[in-house]
């Protein structure tokens, strides 16, 4: 196997694995705190049980997230030393601040999880709130580093290296806001729907369970709110990508020709050889309208850029379609949830089934969206500055660590799933 491909596969696999736990680490503490807060306010024992049980699941997920995140911080150097030698000083600021956010998360999670009955109630609840906030802050900082890779700023190129580095300019490159907002919302939507799906499944089997009803309310409440906001954030993203990364937009949309009044393509398979996207449902003027809020706006096509700078258009377009499709599904389910909530109706079985079906959609969309931004930036690791092929380590035989880490991640995934299942199943309570 080609070493560059092995390095990309290993890093991609590590991130695809870690990103699930990272997203859970952002959202789950919020759920737990909401449940505990409700218990403290109303004395509802069901909510206490819920907070404790969610806290247990969070312990397992957080531990796996912490160690898989460590793998990534080392892999940055092990796989991409030339990228880090160049970019380390420029994007080190958000990573350093993320380090402190991670400290806060780990410290207060320890106090929260092991501190039941040991610390005063207010401190316990506040610790949970700090975990929730610092989890979101971690995601915020890490996403800033990714935003910089997509649109590098805050330095000047000189003789192949970076000079005149402005750490705080580099920390907030053009387009940082849309990416950060989109990622944060996705964490709440994905985790909310995954958790809601589990409890909906149990509610179908035990319709009277107050425990699962309480869980569904919190998880779906947060998840649905996020999923309804996400299309707005997506629109904001599309316009910023159109303005700042036109090549990526063209790849996302399978837009080969530069044209005014470009159509929006639903589905379809881009064919880079024939320079057209086939089998797509085209909505006239749709892309110009969405990307520039003007039906006559000119959209730059892939042809406006040199062929060797194109990403893999087929992959990027398909991943984008998957993300948007699943996001639309989640937003629709959320709209139904909102309607039921406003009418104050208990969730009927058909709706619970819908939530069960939608459970994995959030995480699939999150993974697809991450693939969109990473594939869409290729062949660059730092857009327009450093190619991925130039970033890779000179160490050979990378297929060996790839195989070893594959086994490790598969092992962790299986055990984590089994243990989470054990936490939920054996003591179903009413």
């Amino acid at each position: 196997m080609d070493d560059l491909l092995a390095a990309r596969a290993l890093f991609g696999m590590s991130l695809a694995f870690h990103i699930v736990f990272a997203a859970v680490g952002v959202a789950m503490p919020l759920f737990m705190v909401l449940a505990e807060w409700r218990w403290r306010r109303t004395g509802s024992e069901v909510h206490l049980e819920l907070a404790r049980r969610w806290a247990k699941g969070t312990t397992i997920l957080f531990a796996v997230g912490a160690v898989s995140g460590t793998v990534i911080s080392f892999e940055l150097g092990l796989l991409w030393p030339r990228f880090m030698a160049f970019a380390g000083p420029i994007i080190g600021m958000p990573f350093s601040l993320e380090g402190f956010a991670f400290f806060a998360e780990a410290i207060f999670l320890g106090i929260y999880l092991y501190g039941w009955g040991r610390v005063p109630p207010r401190l316990h609840l506040a610790s949970g709130a700090v975990v929730a906030a610092s989890g979101a802050l971690s995601a915020f900082f890490v996403t800033l580093a990714n935003a910089w890779m997509n649109k590098p700023a805050g330095f000047q190129l000189f003789a192949g290296g970076a000079t005149a580095i402005q750490p705080f300019d580099a920390m907030f490159p053009p387009g940082w806001a849309h990416e950060v907002i989109h990622v944060l919302i996705s964490c709440y939507a994905a985790t909310g729907f995954a958790v809601a799906g589990i409890h909906a499944w149990f509610l179908l089997r035990e319709p009277g369970s107050a425990f699962h009803r309480a869980a569904l309310r919190i998880a779906l409440g947060v998840g649905a709110a996020a999923a309804l906001l996400q299309p707005l954030s997506g629109d904001f993203s599309a316009r910023q990508v159109a303005a700042e990364q036109p090549l990526k937009l063209a790849a996302l949309e399978g837009q080969f020709r530069t044209e005014r009044g470009a159509p929006l393509r639903l589905g379809g398979v881009p064919d880079p050889e024939r320079r057209e996207t086939r089998f797509a449902i085209e909505i006239p003027y749709g892309l110009s309208l969405l990307a520039f809020h003007d039906p006559g706006a000119e959209v730059k096509g892939l042809e406006a850029f040199p062929r060797e700078q194109w990403p893999n258009v087929r992959n990027v377009h398909l991943a984008f379609q998957v993300m948007v499709g699943l996001g639309t599904l989640l937003a629709s389910v959320s709209a139904v949830a909102l309607y039921l909530g406003i009418r104050r109706r208990a969730a009927p079985p058909w709706f619970l089934r819908l939530v069960v079906v939608a459970a994995p959609a959030g995480f699939l969309a999150l993974e697809a969206g991450w693939l969109v931004t990473e594939w869409g930036r290729q062949p660059w690791s730092v857009w327009g500055v450093l190619r991925t092929a130039e970033s890779v380590t000179p160490v050979g035989h990378l297929a060996v660590p790839l195989a070893l880490f594959m086994l490790l991640f598969a092992f962790l995934a299986v055990i984590t799933a089994a243990l989470l299942w054990r936490q939920i199943v054996p003591r179903r309570s009413g």
């Binding site: 404790r52 806290a55 247990k56 312990t59 397992i60 531990a63 796996v64 912490a66 160690v67 898989s68 995140g69 460590t70 793998v71 911080s73 080392f74 940055l76 150097g77 092990l78 030393p81 030339r82 880090m84 030698a85 380390g88 000083p89 420029i90 080190g92 600021m93 990573f95 350093s96 601040l97 993320e98 380090g99 402190f100 991670f102 400290f103 806060a104 780990a106 410290i107 999670l109 320890g110 106090i111 999880l113 092991y114 501190g115 039941w116 040991r118 000079t163 580095i165 402005q166 750490p167 705080f168 380590t393 000179p394 160490v395 050979g396 070893l404 490790l408 962790l412 243990l419 054990r422």
Partner: protein, 350 residues
């Protein structure tokens, strides 16, 4: 003092804290592996109770070291990652399996067979991680690593001196863990860890002596630091005094004093290594100055560190205050049987 020196110092401090805190967590795993005698089960329960709430926070010091290194000294981060690819991958396996197995054990079935399997994975990886970490440090200090963008000899680290430092790391982490656990235990369990601390203290002396002997030929800069610098004699004398003090305190059951002495001893060992190889980051190719990022980056980073530290240390104190008693860092023994928390407590009942 240049910003590069200051940042180098900050990285060394983070590494020392990693050794003192996370090192003891790995050491706890060593004592899980070596649990023996009539109180085998209690020993393991104490280890689990002691590290449960804090190991994840302690682990973050390593992440901080990595981040500071790649931000402040990118050439060193790249060079080390290339030259020490194999041991660093092994270190990752140790770290991942230790953390995962520890958590999985707590939440898996409480049957003996299941628990024993996770326990073996937890304790085995608790030995592997410090061993390779020591090898990495030994290799960096030895001068065997040649750093270049073209690649490196993949097994340059596989030599007696780095391996001796690996053994020293295992012994030191086990020593720290036993010294801490002796404070946290009570009664005959305290006796167990008091004896273990003494044994591990001897192992530290033996492995440190071995590393020093090998350093003569294989790590000249370290050897020079031990023998020929102006601070060599005072450093050796203080470290020896701390070691002697720890042994004396252990033999008299003064566990708080012993813990403080062990902490001083470990701090001086790591700080001595840092002083010996100053100003080199990777001997002999990279110095603090030659591997450093531009000055503006270092200054911004130092300010961020100061701000972060101002928030971090009070939070850390709170964590230890909650889980390690009223005076978590006490160095005084008030009466022979100090307060301690029962080892039987587990995280929220499962």
């Amino acid at each position: 003092m240049s910003p590069a020196d200051l940042l180098g110092g900050a990285i060394l401090v983070a590494l020392i804290l990693y050794v003192l805190l996370a090192g003891a967590d790995f050491g706890g795993g060593v004592w899980d592996l070596l649990a023996s005698g009539p109180r085998k089960r209690e020993q393991r329960a104490l280890v689990e109770h002691a590290i449960g709430p804090i190991w994840e926070a302690n682990h973050v010091w390593l992440i901080l070291v990595v981040v500071l290194l790649f931000t402040g000294f990118p050439a060193a981060f790249a060079g080390i990652s290339i030259a020490l690819f194999v041991p660093l991958v092994l270190l990752l396996f140790g770290i991942v399996l230790r953390g995962a197995a520890f958590t999985f054990r707590t939440y898996d079935r409480q049957e003996d067979g299941v628990q024993a399997r996770w326990g073996l994975l937890f304790s085995g990886s608790s030995v592997l991680a410090p061993l390779v970490l020591g090898v990495v440090v030994g290799a960096v200090a030895s001068g065997r690593l040649r750093v270049s963008a073209q690649g490196a000899e993949p097994f340059a680290w596989l030599a007696p001196f780095p391996l001796a430092v690996g053994l020293l790391a295992v012994a030191l982490f086990a020593y720290l863990a036993a010294a801490y656990l002796a404070v946290e235990a009570a009664g005959s369990l305290r006796e167990d860890f008091r004896r273990r601390a003494t044994g591990a203290g001897v192992a530290v002396l033996v492995t440190a002596g071995l590393a020093a002997l090998l350093a003569r030929d294989q790590a000249p800069l370290v050897f020079e630091g031990l023998t020929r610098r102006w601070w060599s004699a005072p450093l050796l004398a203080t470290t020896a005094a701390a070691a002697g003090g720890a042994f004396a305190a252990l033999s008299r059951g003064r566990v708080h004093v012993a813990r403080a002495a062990a902490v001083i001893q470990a701090t001086l060992i790591v700080a001595g290594w840092g002083a010996a190889q100053h100003p080199y980051l990777v001997v002999p190719d990279l110095t603090l100055a030659s591997a450093s990022a531009p000055r503006g980056v270092l200054v911004a980073l130092l300010w961020a560190l100061a701000a972060g530290g101002a928030l971090l240390f009070p939070a850390l104190y709170l964590l230890f205050r909650v889980f390690k008693g009223e005076r978590p860092f006490s160095v005084l023994d008030r009466g022979l049987n100090g307060p301690s928390t029962p080892p039987s407590e587990r995280p929220p009942s499962s």
